[in-house]
Symmetry: C2
Subunit: 144 residues, 2 copies
């Protein structure tokens, strides 16, 4: 029979273990792109370009952090800066074709890894798990 406290304890323990391993695991899986770089590229693709400030606000990162991350991605030729039409201070960041390709590659790898990991789950369990994660994250993260 389920015991409320025991379940909460397990959730806490397992999420903690997951968090502890996540970055290292992500780095091992795709050395090309850190979790943050990947997220930034994905966001750019999703929005079809945005400003560094928007990224910082969205992911609760300091603007200097974003500035350096973007500089690195630009050095790698994955991102380009375009002048913002209506504000000379700002730059609109866009994926380059190369950036889009790298993102697609890493996305495909990640997706394949998740699919494999979840291969023996039945559809109803996947659906419920997805729902629980959404619900959990919504309770932690008012924004995003």
């Amino acid at each position: 029979m389920p015991d409320r406290d025991a379940s909460v304890e397990t959730i806490q323990r397992e999420l903690t273990a997951f968090a502890r391993r996540a970055r290292a695991a992500a780095a091992r899986m795709h050395p090309e792109l850190s979790l943050v770089s990947f997220t930034l590229l994905a966001h750019l693709e999703d929005r079809g370009g945005c400003r560094a400030t928007d990224l910082a606000a969205h992911y609760l990162l300091d603007k200097s952090t974003v500035s350096r991350q973007i500089a690195a991605l630009e050095r790698l030729g994955l991102v380009e800066r375009r002048p913002a039409p209506e504000d000379q201070r700002a730059q609109v960041l866009h994926l380059t074709p190369r950036g889009a390709g790298t993102l697609a590659q890493v996305t495909a790898n990640r997706r394949a890894a998740f699919r494999e990991r979840l291969a023996d789950w039945d559809e109803a369990d996947l659906d419920r798990f997805a729902g629980y994660l959404l619900r959990y994250n919504a309770s932690v993260e008012p924004l995003d």
Copy 2:
């Protein structure tokens, strides 16, 4: 109706978001102890003391990393080293009373945060969510 790929996609996205936020969130919640320090202390409590090498093996960290983490925890007075009875090279690490107290404090804070976050979940959902996380982590992490 649930769609297998859509669910996997959601799981991936939400776990990624969680991983991205986890460390910063943990640091905000208890500035006293990083996620890793917390984990190491908890492990020591759990096992009633162990060697640095065991910690490194268990958490897939380099021994130098553990050495420095432990040195920091010792500096804070949370951990003490005792000579290993049967091996002069080794040290057995133990929580100090202060370390046990700090750990208890942080554990209580974490537990309270999780309880609150999950307060409006019913027992059956908690139980299922816990089960899914266990199952997921088991598929990623053969050891531990």
